[in-house]
Each structure stands twice: as C-alpha cells, then as structure tokens.
C-alpha cells in the first residue's frame, strides 16, 4: 500500500506569541509537527504495518520544516519531501496547490493529513488537495480501516459520528482520538538520518510563483487581550453573593 501523509510544522502550543512589526514573531519559538498531522502519520504507519507498503511524508514550508519531516521519518515513515515555496506570503490555496502537485508525481493508494493545523486552524488544506486531485475525502476521522480498494472511516459529525465507505485512493483527515502517536525509538532516530528526504523548490514540482500566489491577504494581526487577574469577593455568604451579582451585572455585564 502506497501511503502519503501530509504534514505541517507549527508553533508549539505553549509558545509565547508576540507580534514583531505587525507580523507573528518567530524568534525563539519551539516548532513542532502539527499534532493532527502526527495522528495522520501514526495512522499511515499503522496501515503500513498491517498491509505492507511505504509511507511518504510531504510538507510545504521553509527549510526548518525539515525537522517535522525528520520526526515522521524517525517514527517510521520511509521517505520525505519538503517543498519550499520560497516566500512567506502563502495561503491555504498556495499550500494545497503545491502539495497536490508534489503528491501527483507519487504513487498513492491513500492520502492522510490532519484535519486542521493548530496555528491558523483553517481546516482547508487536505480538502483542497482532494479537490485538486479529484479524490473523495472523509474529514475528522476517529477510526479507519483501509485495505484493497476501499476505506471505511468513522468521522466526527455534529452530535455523533458517521461511518463512511470510500473507494481508494482517497483523502482522509485525522481528528484527535484516531490513535496515540508513537514516540520515536533510538533506532528510528538513527535511521531517520539516513532515509531519503528530498528538498525541492517550486520549479522542481513544475510550478511558478504566479500559479501559487496567495489569494487571501492578511491585513492585520492582533493579540487577544491579556487575561485580567481573578477577583476574590470577601464577606459573609449573603453579602458576598449580592456583591457578586452586582459585579456580574455592572462590571462584567453578563447578567
């Protein structure tokens, strides 16, 4: 089974975000593989363990995103591809176009990706890739079985779950709960250093800048207001409750 996993490198969820010149500062930020993509990589490895075959990890990002690909290789993926778009001015359509182009040169039976990334949270990229490649897509999958020519996936839907069957090849996006991603073993880490990792530019996937120009422009970034300190209302229960109610109405304007 030929399996492709799409990954993105994101900020660590504990990273302290600061704006530098109107943009999100990258200084001193710990970078990680998007946790939803980690589920996708883990599921890809499980499919490989069950059905045989190989796992190719594809990412779009700057050169430092190699680290995310290496992590997937250390977990057990067989090869990696990084396409550096050469610009930071990208949006979901840029990334999906490049990914689809890179994947189209590969053989694949199934394409897995996180259903969203924890940074921008757009949840668009995997779906767009499916659209470009003209493949069926099942989103927010928490259980997956795939062999032969079809996949049966359990997907989160509002208020419950749906079990769906799609012919392969298909795009499947991972939701939390799909699996517990493995921690790379030393052997995995050592081998990852020797596994093939292709770094490419736009030209290498037969695209030029105009084909991938961002269609969405970010006008402005702003940080959420700092959380105000908590407040303790002293006094006897009756008085304190009255004071609380007053504060909720007049200060917080909730009731």
């Amino acid at each position: 089974m030929k399996i492709v996993a799409l990954v993105k490198q994101t900020f660590d969820s504990e990273a302290k975000i600061a704006l530098e010149g109107g943009k999100i500062g990258r200084q001193g930020i710990s970078l990680i593989m998007n946790p939803y993509d980690e589920y996708a990589v883990e599921e890809a490895l499980k499919l490989k363990e069950k059905n045989g075959g190989e796992v190719t990890v594809v990412t779009v990002g700057p050169d430092e995103a190699t680290e995310a690909v290496r992590q997937a290789l250390a977990m057990g993926a067989d090869q990696g591809i990084l396409v550096n778009p050469g610009t930071e001015d990208i949006d979901e359509s840029t990334v999906a176009t490049i990914l689809a182009k890179a994947v189209s040169s590969l053989e694949y039976d199934i394409i897995l990706g996180g259903f969203r990334a924890i940074d921008d949270g757009s949840a668009q990229v995997a779906g767009r890739v499916a659209e470009i490649l003209n493949l069926p897509v099942v989103n927010m999958v928490t259980k997956l079985e795939a062999d032969g020519g079809k996949a049966v996936a359990t997907a989160d839907i509002e208020g419950g779950s749906a079990v769906m069957e799609v012919p392969l090849p298909a795009v499947i996006t991972a939701q939390k709960g799909l699996n517990e991603p493995r921690y790379p073993s030393m052997k995995g880490i050592m081998q990852a250093k020797k596994k093939p990792l292709k770094k490419m530019g736009l030209g290498d996937v037969s695209l030029d800048a105009s084909q991938v120009a961002a269609k969405v422009k970010v006008l402005n970034y702003s940080l959420p207001p700092a959380r105000a300190a908590g407040k303790v209302i002293p006094g006897e229960p009756a008085e304190a409750a009255a004071a609380l109610a007053k504060a909720l109405r007049e200060e917080a304007k909730i009731i």
């Binding site: 504990e14 493995r182 921690y183 030393m186």
Partner: protein, 688 residues
C-alpha cells in the same frame, strides 16, 4: 609408629578418587560461572584495590549490614564464622588422616573447633527455623523447586557437623589409652560430651565408628563442593568477590552514559542477558535471596509487582535458561581442554534468547520495571552490595529507546521536556517569571555572581514550589549571597528523563545546560531540589560539566553556622517531623544539614519517624515516577501514614517532589487543613 588415625593405603586411594571427583565438579562450576558472568559487557572494577580489600574484609568479618537485623544477623554470623572455622578443623583432621600429622595439639584448638561446629550447627538450624517454622516473609523463594536445594543444603551442613562430632566422640574413646592423646581433648566439650555416650566401648569398635562417621562427614563436605555447581550455595563464594567489585564511584553517578555517536550501535537498552555488564550478571549469584531489599522497597511494601530481590532472581533464571553453559572436560591428542557448549558460544552473538522468554516484558514484566522509584533503599540495605537500580534503568532504556513501548504519561513528560524543557510542558519563555518582582538577577543581565541559583522545573513552574523559591531568595538576600538565575535559559536537569530510560533526551538537556553554564563561566551552583542537586553534582561531570554544587539546605546550614543568617525568634511552637529525601540522603549522605537548620529555628520541636535517615521511605516520586500514574496503594499515602503515626503538626522536606507528594497524601488522609508541609527553607524564612 604409624598414627592409628591415619587412613590405610586403600583408604587414601579411595579418598583421592572421591576428592578428585568433587573438585572436578567444583572446578567445572567455577568455570561455568565465569563463562556465564563474562557474557556481560565490560565495566571496570579494579581501581582502588586497597579500599576494595578493606571494604571486603570489613563486610565479611564484621558483617555490619547483615547485623542491622538482629535475628537474621545473628543467624548469619553464627553459621558464617562457624562454618569458616569448622572448615579449618576438617582440614586439620585431614592432615592426620592422610599424613599422620597432628598440626595443633593445644586443647584450645579443639575448643575453638568445637565452638565453631556448635555455631555452624545452631546457625544453620536457626536458618531452617526462620525459613520453615517462623516463615519470615522476606526469605520466601516462591516454590518447592527453589526450596528443595535449600533444604538439601541445610540437611547436608547439619549432617556434616553431626557426623564430625560423632566421629570425634568415637575418636576420643578409641584413643583414650594412648599416651598424650586424651590431653588434646580436655577442652573439647562437645566432642567429649558425645564421647561420654560411648564410654567403655572397646577401642577397635570405636575406631570403626570413628572412621565410618568421618567418611560420612567427608561425603557431606564433598557434596557441598559439588553442590556449588547446582545450587545457591554459590552465595558464600561470590558474595566476597561481589563486595570487592562493588561500585566505588559516587552513589549518585552509578548510571553509565550511552555514546550516541556510535553509528554501529543498534540497541541502547538491556534487551537480553548479554547487554548487562558482567557485574550485573555476577550480582544474582552473590545474592542469598535474603530479601532485605524488598523489606525496604516502597514499591514492594505498597503491593506493587516489584521486588528488587525478584529482579535479581529473574535475571539469574534468564541466565540459567538461556545461556547456561555446561562445561565438559575433553581430551584431544593427550591435551586436556575445557569445551563450552555451543549454546553459550551462540549467546555471545546475541541469538540465544529466541527460544525462551523475552527478558523485557516476559521474564521481567513492564509493571515491575516501571514500579521502581530508584530510591536506593534496596542497595543501601543489601549486604553484598548488589546494584538493582542500574539494571532497572537499563531495562527501561530497552523499553524507551529500543522498543518505544512505555506509559503514555511518560511520553507526555518526554515531549514536554523536549519542547519546553520542563516535564509540565509550560511555555519555556515563562520559566523565570516567578522571580519577576523579587529583585533576582538573570545571568544574561549580569553574570558576575558567585553562585548560579539553579531553580529547577518545580521551583519555576509549580505554584506551591514557587513559594519555596521565593523563600530561598529571601534567605539568600538576607545573607548577602551574590547569585543569579538563568531564567528562560535554564532547562530541566534531566533527572526524570534519565531514570525513565530516555538517555537521549537526558543528554540533550545536559548538553544545553552545560553549554549555557559554561558560557556564563558558572563555577558554583545552588540547587533547591535534590534531584537537580544529584544530577548536576554527580552526573554532569560525565559530560564535562564540572561545577561545585550545593543543596540549599547545606548552604543555609553553613550560613547559620557562620552567623550570616540569624533565624528570627518569632517562630511559633510547632512539632515537626523531617522527611529525608532519597537523593539528598541515601544518594548524597546529607542527613545532618537540614536537621541543623530545623534545630536553629526557635519554637520547633523535631520528632523522627521510624523510617528515617538512610532507612527513610521514599515519597513515591523519584525515578520519574512523579510523572506516572500509580495504581493500587499509593506510596505517598503510605509515607504520610508513617508520618501521621507520630502525630506531627507539620512535615518538613527538602525536595519539591516530596512536598507535592506529602501535600497530596495529607489531602487523601483529610488532614491537610491541620497539618502542613513545608520546605526546611520556608520554616526558616518565615521567622526572618
């Protein structure tokens, strides 16, 4: 005249043949043991020979560790010394039997021999009594298969001594009329008493029985030599060697590092017998399975599946079942050679364990491996200086580095340490925030300070422990100490990562910390956590980080002594019990400094728990257990109950993990409103 106690020529020939057979088995046993043990990896234990020899003599002669337990101690002391001297008595008699030579004629010698025989008899029978009548739990071996050899040994030793006395009894009767002979035995009270049973027997009949019982006694003695190859009697032979080869390095630096630069290396943990060091493989043979380790093991005492003794027993079982070489003597072209069976040779190539249980996960369960808190109570107690903890860490390395099969909580802790340099996973940039309003320098602002105050993860991120950090700052400032912190540049010391088996993560944290500290030319470090203390002090030198490291209680005790800190007089009256942390106490032998601080604080009354000092009971958080779920009876609850048994008003600790564990334990017991836990430094700071 030929000494009538001498054997006939035929007797000597028979004796020589029987003796040669016994020695052959004994020698084969020794060769096999050597073969088994040397399957292990190399480790150096031949430095400081004088210290090794002196320690061996001290522990073999005086047996201080064994005597810590009165009943078992007396039992061992009696039969150890009894059999040792009794063996000389047998050899002494051999000279007479074979050469007609009587080496000692002094009645005192025969008195000593009789006393030794009596000691051996009483000691060995008492050991049987403890095992089968009292049924002392720690002596349990698990089943008749193991027990039958012990029964056989006790019987053989008992019979050997009984036969000896019978033989001597008859000898005294047989030689009663020979001039000079009776004078030898005037002080031999046991033999003479036995002789009194047969008084008046004619000398020839007495001679017959004297020789008969002597032969029987020799058969028992030879039997014991033979049994060396098949039974736990190997303990007396290996134990002194094991004490001699004990680890003389700092107790906190016993874990060996892994060279990850070695590209050839394929596995990093202990996956099979041949991955242990030879010393690890020798330990189980030195072990007498006395169970003193498990009697002090917090995991065992809270009904976890782990017993340190069983770990060693299982390693021995694995060796015996997988590599057990049977050595046979063969002659080829007139040359005698010792051939080791193919299986043992194969084992050196690491293919031996396919047919039997896997060492990790099957022979030794993962639950056993994860239950250890690395508290060192087992090793502190072990009379033969066995090293249990490095084995556990090695097995954990197999699970983490090789198999990637470990509890999910550990994975979370690892990922958090990787990404945010602390096991909680709180953003690393906020590490120095606790000190924001305390007027503490960061080295990035000014590195011209005497001490680096290495705060540690708990002191930086845990809400409760941050208060300890603040108390320390107050004390240091009052004493005029020149110090700074690393702030966001500080990383976890790596203690938990290493003890959970993640050596790779440990080394990456260590390298970053050492690099930072060397950049700022740090010479002296104060730590507020005994885990940081032990790791920085004892383990960082393995990676080129040589600093003078001091635990905060040591520094404060010194400052009080030098008069640089004056404990205030405003201390309320409080009955406090002090809990020894494992890594300050057992690992670094610091029991006094924290108690000195407590005694200097007015109003404090210090009361001691039953398990204190080097027998202190772990809080349950060591060895990375802080980050793992605990199932069944909790160790911190057990320790809290031990504290509550002496009715303290407060509990004093020196470690952030202990602090957390006690606070949780007191909550479990629903007394957290009335009994509080404090770091020693907090108790001092609040009087200032």
């Amino acid at each position: 005249m030929i000494n009538p106690s001498m054997l006939s020529t035929l007797g000597i020939v028979i004796f020589a043949i029987v003796g040669a057979i016994a020695l052959y088995f004994f020698a084969m046993g020794a060769v096999e043991l050597f073969t088994k043990v040397t399957l292990g990896q190399s480790t150096s234990r031949n430095d400081q020979l004088g210290k090794r020899l002196w320690g061996t003599i001290n522990h073999a002669v005086g047996q201080p560790r064994i005597l810590r337990q009165a009943e078992g101690g007396v039992m061992h002391f009696l039969h150890f010394w009894g059999i040792a001297i009794f063996a000389l008595a047998i050899i002494h008699l051999l000279f007479e039997r074979l050469f007609g030579a009587v080496l000692f004629r002094s009645p005192v010698w025969y008195l000593i021999a009789d006393i030794a025989g009596l000691f051996a008899l009483v000691g060995i029978l008492y050991s049987g009594f403890r095992r089968y009548v009292q049924k002392v739990p720690r002596l349990d071996t698990g089943g008749w298969k193991e027990e039958r050899l012990i029964v056989l040994l006790i019987s053989m030793i008992t019979l050997m001594v009984v036969f000896y006395f019978l033989s001597y009894g008859y000898k005294i009767v047989a030689t009663a009329s020979i001039p000079g002979e009776p004078e030898r035995y005037t002080l031999a009270f046991v033999s003479s008493w036995v002789a009194s049973w047969f008084a008046g027997l004619d000398p020839a009949t007495a001679r017959f029985w004297e020789f008969t019982f002597w032969w029987l006694q020799m058969i028992m003695a030879f039997g014991l030599l033979v049994s060396f190859r098949y039974s736990p009697v190997i303990h007396p032979a290996v134990a002194p060697l094991n004490i001699f080869m004990r680890n003389l390095g700092p107790k906190g630096a016993n874990i060996e590092s892994i060279n990850f630069e070695d590209e050839e290396r394929e596995t990093f943990g202990i996956n099979k017998i041949a991955d242990f060091t030879w010393k690890d493989l020798m330990d189980p043979y030195a072990c007498a399975e006395c169970g003193r380790c498990q009697d002090n093991c917090p995991a065992y005492l809270t009904e976890k599946p782990l017993s340190p003794k069983k770990i060693l027993v299982k390693i021995k079982e694995q060796i015996e079942e997988t590599v057990a070489p049977r050595v046979a003597m063969s002659t080829e072209g007139g040359h005698i050679s010792f051939g080791v069976t193919k299986r043992a040779e194969a084992s050196e190539e690491g293919v031996e364990e396919e047919e039997v249980k896997k060492l990790v996960g099957e022979r030794i369960s993962t639950d056993e491996i994860w239950a250890c808190t690395t508290c060192r109570a087992c090793q502190e107690e072990c009379p033969v200086f066995n090293e249990h903890i490095v084995k556990v860490v090695g097995l954990r390395r197999a699970l983490v580095l090789d198999e990637s099969d470990f509890p999910g909580e550990a994975q979370l802790a690892f990922t958090n340490m990787e990404r945010n340099s602390n096991p909680w996973g709180i953003g690393w940039q906020t590490r120095g925030d606790w000190a924001a309003d305390l007027g503490v320098k960061e080295l990035s602002e000014d590195s011209n300070v005497e001490y680096l105050y290495y705060v540690g993860c708990a002191g930086s991120f845990d809400e409760r422990v941050k208060k300890v950090s603040a108390s320390l700052v107050k004390i240091f400032q009052a004493a005029g100490i020149s110090f700074g912190i690393l702030g966001a540049e500080e990383k976890c010391c790596g203690d938990s990562a290493r003890r959970l088996g993640n050596e790779y993560l440990f080394q990456s944290l260590v390298q970053e910390n050492i690099e930072n500290m060397q950049n700022y030319k740090v010479k002296k470090i104060i730590t507020a956590c005994p885990h940081c203390f032990n790791t920085l002090k004892n383990e960082y030198p393995q990676f080129g980080g040589n600093f003078e490291v001091i635990h905060h209680t040591q520094l404060i005790a010194r400052l009080i002594q030098e008069g640089k800190i004056k404990p205030g007089s405003g201390g309320e009256n409080l009955k406090v019990t002090y809990h020894d942390s494992c890594y300050l106490g057992r690992y670094n032998d610091e029991y006094a400094a924290p108690r000195r601080i407590l005694r200097a604080i007015s109003g404090l009354q210090i009361i001691e728990m039953e398990r204190n000092l080097n027998k202190g009971f772990c809080c349950g958080a060591g060895g990375g257990r802080m980050w793992l779920e605990e199932h069944g009876k909790r160790i911190n609850t057990a320790r809290t109950e031990q504290a509550l048994a002496i009715n303290p008003e407060a509990i004093a600790v020196n470690c952030p993990f202990c602090l957390t564990m006690f606070e949780d334990g007191l909550k479990d017991k629903e007394v957290s409103e009335t009994i509080k836990t404090y770091d020693v430094a907090e108790l001092l700071a609040r009087t200032m």
